[in-house]
């Protein structure tokens, strides 16, 4: 199942309570609830495995909330020619998980979404997700930047800032995000200093006296031995 598919299934497999809250017509409920992220063996203790499992089985954000969230996430990080959007990277699912993992996010997330719908209704007589793209952008423009003095928009600004933070974290901690950033570590290698052209760009150079004592990577596999004064002789 690709990311979009899994997101769609998430929208479907939810309780009706949340939907009623927004006055929508619930779709036929899908009874199958599968963990969005399979609990991989990432070095968990028994207690942690149980905690992860419980979190996967719980539900906090409901389908209608996730729909609005997904729209916001994709306004924050729309696709580019090279890289996918926030939803392509599974960001809404990640935020849905974090709301369960760190419960202090719950009220700001749920309340923030309500605030946004309230604002949207006041302006356009529509819930945020029912607005046209132009209307949605107009609403986001109002809350995407900090203010000098807090106005009536302040709760929306705080909410958008939270979503922006979680969207960026959710996106750049995926393979796609790594690729966009150009992060190429987390792999066995040999560190032999900052590349010359980078040093040059920064007007830096290694102090020869310092560097003379650093590891000679060609001898890294020779077993260390010292003379009596503690000087390395291998």
């Amino acid at each position: 199942m690709d990311r979009r598919e899994s997101l769609k299934s998430l929208f479907v497999g939810t309780v009706a309570g949340g939907l009623a809250l927004n006055g929508c017509t619930p779709e036929a409920p899908d009874t199958e609830t599968k963990p969005l992220v399979e609990g991989k063996g990432y070095g968990r203790t028994e207690k942690e495995k149980i905690r992860d499992q419980k979190l996967h089985e719980e539900e906090f954000l409901v389908a209608s909330e996730l729909e609005t969230l997904a729209i916001l996430c994709d306004i924050i990080l729309p696709p580019t020619a090279e890289f996918g959007s926030a939803t392509d990277a599974g960001v809404p699912e990640f935020i849905a998980f974090m709301a369960k993992d760190i419960p202090r996010y719950q009220t700001p997330l749920r309340g923030g979404l309500m605030w946004l719908d309230n604002r949207s209704n006041a302006k356009f007589g529509l819930y945020f997700k029912a607005c046209s793209v132009d209307q949605q952008i107009e609403l986001v423009e109002e809350i995407a930047y900090p203010e000098e003095q807090p106005s009536a928009l302040a709760p929306g600004i705080a909410f958008f800032s939270l979503i922006r933070n979680l969207t960026l974290t959710g996106y750049y901690t995926t393979e796609m995000g790594f690729k966009e950033l150009g992060y190429i570590g987390n792999t066995p290698g040999v560190w032999d200093g900052v590349p010359d052209e980078v040093l040059k760009d920064h007007g830096m150079s290694y102090d020869p006296k310092w560097i003379k004592r650093c590891v000679d990577q060609s001898k890294r596999n020779d077993v260390a031995a010292w003379d009596e004064e503690g000087n390395l002789i291998t």
Binding site: G39, Y145, G177, L181, L199, D201, Y206, V223
Partner: protein, 572 residues
Amino acid sequence: MQIIESPEVYDVVIVGSGAGGGMASKILSEGGLNVAILEAGPMFDPRDDTDRTQLRPPWESPRRGASSYRAFGDFDSAYGGWDIEGEPYTHKAGTEFDWYRSHMVGGRTNHWGRISLRFGPKDFKRKDQDGLGDNWPIGYEDVKPYYDKVDKLIGVFGTKEDFPNEPNGYFLPPPKPRLHELYYIKGANKANVPVIPSRLSILTKKINSKRGVCFYCGQCSRGCMASADFSSGTCLIFPAQEAGNQVKLFTNAMARQVVVDKNGKATGVSYINKDDRQEYVIQGKTIVLAASACSSARILLNSKSSTFPNGLGNGSGTLGRYLHDSTGASRMAFVPDLMNRKMYNEDGTGGMHVYTPWWLDNKKLDFPRGYHLEVWGGLGMPSYGFGFNATELNKYAGGVVGGYGNKLREDVKRFYGATMGISGRGESVPQYDNYCEIDPTVVDEWGIPVLRFHYKWTEHERTQAKHMHETFESIFDAMGAQVLGEKPGEDSDYGLLAPGRIIHEVGTTRMGTDPNTSVVNQYMQLHEADNVFVVDGGPFVSQADKNPTWTILALSWRTSDYILDQINKQNI
């Protein structure tokens, strides 16, 4: 409940498998003794794929490595933290102390920063210099041979600097500095602050046929599958077992108390098996406590008997007292010259490649004792928290704060690797009135009475933290960096972290020649019980501004040699 007594009598029962316990198990088992180790947590071996977090990308964790459960995040190799479910501790009103515990084979050596600094001659004799606290009953010359042996056995990179009070050692060659570290060197030089290669117990070069060489993933805090950094399991306990020595590990064994006979002689340790929740007694001729400073004090305080009504080793009333942690404060800065970085693999070793040892003369300052500086930054692997407040730096870079869309993508890339930080880690002055004791009314889920803490920083530590912040700013200013956030003032103790936060707590079973003012003698043997020893940080008279692990290892080795000698002479 019936207490189950093991029939086997071990030569030595060691409580705790961290630095002190691991070293004792190796030396004592090599000396031919039959050793049992009680460890409160489960087995952990970073070479085993089921325990491995090393090299796992953030997306293998559904929370992307967030610290919602483990204090330092999902991939950090410490089972525990400042708060452990079912194992509480309490405080005397108006005081604070955060108690970090890691229950697993290897204890906190699995996740620590690998900063491996010897105490210098001055560090053992602080009272001689400033009249505060007490001198150690031993000096650098007593510990030096053991530091030398630890260097050669375990491996530490660094350089001979002949720097005052920072002794030379047997060093492996250090790695080259990273880019932000070169900026740090430049700024520090301008600000008249010295910088030298750091000293970390990471193998930049092969040290024996069993352990691998660092492959520069920058993740020592996750434990190393190549055993290329120091942890008690991979470098001490497992090698001792693999060599065929008699070292038996009891995991999930939570020690309650030292058992003494009617003559007051220690005969074993009682513990709870966490798997079946039954209480057991394991018998030993010699008992070595290495459960961590506060846990060992707790075990001794709970070891009440008709001979020792206030706990074993507490005749002086100093057991649990003189608890002290390192001081700590940090500051972050934005380095405009590090914007728009060219990408390359900058992971390096799992720690800083350069640092600043204490360089000033306290006689010219308004606080006693020094601090060292640690530096951090670089093109680290993104994990939970990456991108938070990503647009804020536009305040200083002339862009727009806030926003969304492609502008945001550009901001993230522009500022990636453009921030860095400096942390100060300093020496506090041990106080009689900073202590842990048994809370008379509270037990943990194993039924064991818990610790209650009473700890207050003094003006010494607060004034030192103030000075740290002045140093941070002078270095950042000299680098052309923009210091972030507000400089903390008097109302927040100048940014001084709560005691316990630096996880260098020591002093609770302190060493001394006078049984009226100390718990153990210079060989870390209880004044009151010949066959009971403490080999963790508890016996430290004063904690230098150095990280305590290297000294714990050296002293545990020294005590182990003493134990073997005393057994040979049939003194214990």
